[in-house]
């Protein structure tokens, strides 16, 4: 199973979820707004309805006052009792304020304003007759007053007025109906909005649940795959480590066998070269004897062969085989070092470096090299023999490659960085060219002027040892300016138990 197979398109999913949530919030907001709007509208409509009722009330009050005035007038005309006249005047003075109130209330409605104006005009045209009829009765001219009253009855003044008021009330009723309908409409709108928002919320909720369920499922699937891969990974790492271990063992064994089997013929080459040498020596003695006793038998070529060619050839064979022997020994040593058991112990590095200085005291004194060790170097837990070999090798190189004519100096420094201890061996010798900084750690490779004996094994060996101690080694140098070898080691070396 591959991870790609269950990968969740995250961008797509995120957009979907954010979109869904936003939609849900929008729906809620819309519901709230709709509720607020409809409540406001409702309030407005209610106030309008109240207003209409007030207008109707005012019209009714006006009609009542007008009737009461008529009642007072008629009673006075009939009986001449002053109390009736009082009733008339009392009702009459309320008529115009009531009209004004109606006008005020219907100020926003031009149609009602026109109606009020008409009502007002009718009242004003009636009132002089009424006033006069009452005044005539009061001044004793009752008959004239009654005649005037008949006139107004003949003009059907009251009926006309009532009809006009009815028109106004009808108008208000019409408005009331419209306002009621508007209120019902706004409530209906509210319900529709709430229903739509609810449906949308339901939809968004269901969608979100669907998407999240899918996402969770694919997450669980990818987690399972990851767990599987993880388990596999551990297995794979173990397998690779075993493979590596096996390959390493094989190389070690190979190096060991090769160096042994190479040595065997070398013994023969060396041995028979020596035999050849002693034979050549006898030949040379023979030639000398011939030269002395019978010079005429001596052949020039034979003399050259015995005295020069043979010894030269033998010398070359010998130096070459000796070199080859050293190389084979080096391979053998490396392979053996790789198989040696590492036993970590606590090391006082100051003591270790003092020991190394003591070992090389003779060379240090001979070349007049100052050797200084920083006080209180960090202590580490590592393999004593390997550490001594590594550091001894570097110190030896430092002494070996001092510049003639400059007072030699070797400084040892050390510090702790986290779980690593770093030691520096700095010299002021001839240094290493930048292009050789890595190369000098290769087997059989050397740097600079080849004026010192050596096979190019020491640093390769040193690096191999450092690796075995889970460490690294590097050089920082400039030609002619000295070199600083830096060894980075774990403060506490833990040896992996080899299976």
């Amino acid at each position: 199973m591959s991870l790609k197979h269950v990968a969740v398109p995250d961008a797509w999913f995120n957009r979907l979820v954010i979109g869904g949530v936003a939609l849900g919030f929008l729906a809620l907001l819309a519901t709230g707004l709709a509720a607020y709007q409809s409540v406001r509208e409702n309030q407005f409509h209610s106030s309008r309805v109240n207003h209409s009722i007030k207008v109707e009330q005012a019209i009714a009050d006006f009609l009542a006052a007008r009737d009461r005035a008529e009642l007072g007038r008629r009673g006075y005309l009939l009986t001449g009792i002053a109390a009736h006249a009082e009733t008339y005047y009392d009702a009459r003075k309320r008529l115009f304020p009531l009209l004004a109130r109606i006008r005020d209330l219907t100020r926003d409605n031009p149609r009602q304003q026109a109606n009020v104006a008409r009502l007002s005009a009718l009242t004003q045209s009636d009132l002089p007759f009424m006033d006069r009829s009452v005044a005539l009765v009061r001044s004793g001219r009752r008959d004239e007053g009654v005649r005037l009253f008949r006139d107004s009855v003949g003009r059907r003044a009251i009926t006309v007025l009532r009809a006009q008021a009815a028109v106004m009330i009808n108008e208000e009723d019409r408005l009331l109906a419209i306002r009621d309908a508007a209120t019902a409409g706004s409530i209906r709108l509210f319900y529709v909005t709430v229903a739509a928002a609810g449906a949308m919320l339901l939809l968004v909720g269901a969608g979100s649940i669907w998407v999240i369920t899918g996402y969770t499922r694919s997450l669980a699937a990818s987690r399972d795959v990851l767990r599987l891969l993880n388990t596999d990974l551990e297995g794979a790492v173990r397998e690779r480590t075993t493979d590596l271990q096996r390959a390493n063992d094989e190389i070690q064994r190979f190096a060991y066998i090769v160096s042994h089997d190479l040595r065997s013929p070398l013994v023969n080459v060396m041995g028979f070269t020596s035999e050849l040498e002693s034979a050549a020596q006898r030949l040379r003695a023979m030639m000398d004897k011939v030269d002395a006793e019978a010079p005429h038998l001596a052949d020039k070529d034979a003399r050259i062969a015995a005295n020069e060619d043979l010894p030269e050839a033998i010398r070359f064979i010998r130096t070459s085989t000796e070199k080859m022997d050293r190389l084979i020994n080096a391979i053998l040593r490396l392979s053996r070092e790789g198989r040696r058991q590492i036993t970590p112990e606590k090391l006082d590095m100051n003591a270790v470096f003092r020991g190394i200085a003591d070992t090389h005291r003779h060379q240090l004194d001979e070349k007049e090299v100052d050797f200084s060790i920083a006080s209180r170097l960090p202590s580490i837990v590592s393999d004593r023999l390997a550490i001594e070999q590594i550091l001894g090798n570097i110190v030896e190189n430092a002494i070996k490659y001092m510049l003639p004519g400059r007072r030699g100096r070797i400084e040892i420094r050390g510090r702790i960085e986290g779980a690593r201890a770093i030691f520096e061996i700095a010299d002021n010798g001839r240094g290493v060219e930048a292009r050789d900084h890595e190369r000098i750690f290769d087997l059989f490779r050397r740097s600079g002027v080849q004026d010192q004996p050596g096979e190019g094994i020491g640093l390769a060996h040193t690096r191999a040892l450092a690796y075995r101690l889970s460490g690294t080694i590097s050089v920082d140098s400039e030609l002619g300016r000295g070199a600083t070898f830096r060894i980075n080691l774990p403060v506490i070396l833990v040896v992996e138990q080899e299976a």
């Binding site: 042994h260 089997d261 040595r263 065997s264 013929p265 070398l266 013994v267 023969n268 060396m270 041995g271 028979f272 070269t273 020596s274 035999e275 085989t321 000796e322 022997d325 053996r336």
Partner: protein, 150 residues
């Protein structure tokens, strides 16, 4: 202990050159005992145990043994010779090989090897070692075999 029978030297060495060099140097040391040379383990073991003129049936012997043989390792031969009940158990064995591996040397001594000599590539030391071995051979007392004793 008597020593009237000459000691046979049995050399088990697959490398012709090594064998020749060893023989030369033994002779140079003044040792004139017979040297029987075998190039592989099988024929050497057969000679050691079966041959009528071999050490089991005929007189004392000293064995020079190389560890790297084509058909078996020298330690196999050593194990066989030094095994309990083998009539050659007390026969001295000199292991002469290129290996200077400490573990290998220890193992040979554990198996009952009497002397272990590393063949040095440096011929002078090699010749020295063999010559000293020759001197050693001239003075050592080799135990008689039970049969030869009777």
């Amino acid at each position: 202990m008597n020593n009237h029978q000459p000691v046979n030297i049995i050399m088990i060495e697959d490398d012709e050159g090594h064998a020749r060099l060893i023989e030369k140097n033994i002779r140079r040391a003044g040792i004139s005992n017979d040297i029987h040379h075998f190039r592989d383990g099988t024929s050497a073991l057969e000679y050691l145990h079966e041959a009528p003129d071999g050490p089991t049936h005929n007189g004392p012997a000293l064995i020079l043994l190389d560890l790297n043989l084509p058909d078996m390792t020298g330690t196999d031969i050593l194990t066989r010779i030094k095994a309990d009940g083998n009539p050659l158990k007390r026969t001295p064995v000199v292991v002469l090989t290129t290996t200077d591996d400490k573990i290998e040397i220890q193992r040979c001594y554990d198996l009952g090897c009497n002397v272990y000599i590393t063949k040095p590539v440096n011929y002078e030391s090699f010749a020295d070692a063999i010559r000293q071995l020759g001197l050693f051979l001239s003075v050592i007392q080799v135990p008689d075999l039970p049969e030869a004793n009777g």
